[in-house]
Symmetry: C2
Subunit: 120 residues, 2 copies
């Protein structure tokens, strides 16, 4: 089952670091495909925000001559949101704590995105 | 002169690393305050994209419980755009090459943003 495989990849990703709080796979038009989220986060909201950020990030990368978009990182006072393409039509969004080691998170997220890209 | 001080901070920032290609200070509503940009980049376009990314980043950080927004990073195949608040009403946007060492760029940009925050 594709959904089970995605769930399994997300569970593994969340398990690689205590700093990863949540992760989700979202279609590029903002619909949820799989999610491992805490109860206080609404999947529809996560999907909508991630798709909007990727879409504007796409345009920013293009307009400012940065090539094709690979990743968008949002840093807030209470943590990070990292969004990256997983294949052509889906997006991996990851929420991490402010204590996260970004280098490790980038690496784990990149690997998970590659695995997801093979499944979807 | 405030504008000269901003230009001087941006020139210093661009000089800290050969990987920093351009930098600009933009009001949070997208108007250019100072810029050190190569000729192929339209200041109005840089201002508009940076303000839009910060605005959506703000909302994303809020909706996904990440606290108040500090930074947005866009990674494309040909380089980075890093946007960060410099004081309350202005934004520092930096364009860096794909070879940039992110840790160093983050540090230099943070320092420059602090200096800018004192000037504007």
């Amino acid at each position: 089952m594709r959904e089970d495989m995605l769930d399994s990849i997300l569970r593994d990703l969340n398990g690689t670091s205590a700093d990863i709080e949540a992760s989700a796979v979202i279609s590029t038009d903002g619909l949820m495909m799989a999610a491992q989220l805490p109860q206080n986060l609404d999947p529809d909201r996560v999907g909508a925000m991630a798709a909007a950020m990727l879409s504007l990030g796409d345009r920013t990368a293009q307009e400012l001559a940065r090539g094709s978009l690979e990743q968008v990182l949002v840093k807030g006072g209470d943590g990070y949101v990292l969004m990256t393409y997983a294949g052509v039509e889906s997006v991996l969004a990851v929420l991490a704590k402010t204590t996260a080691k970004l280098g490790l998170i980038f690496l784990d997220v990149k690997r998970a995105a590659e695995s997801i890209g093979k499944v979807v």
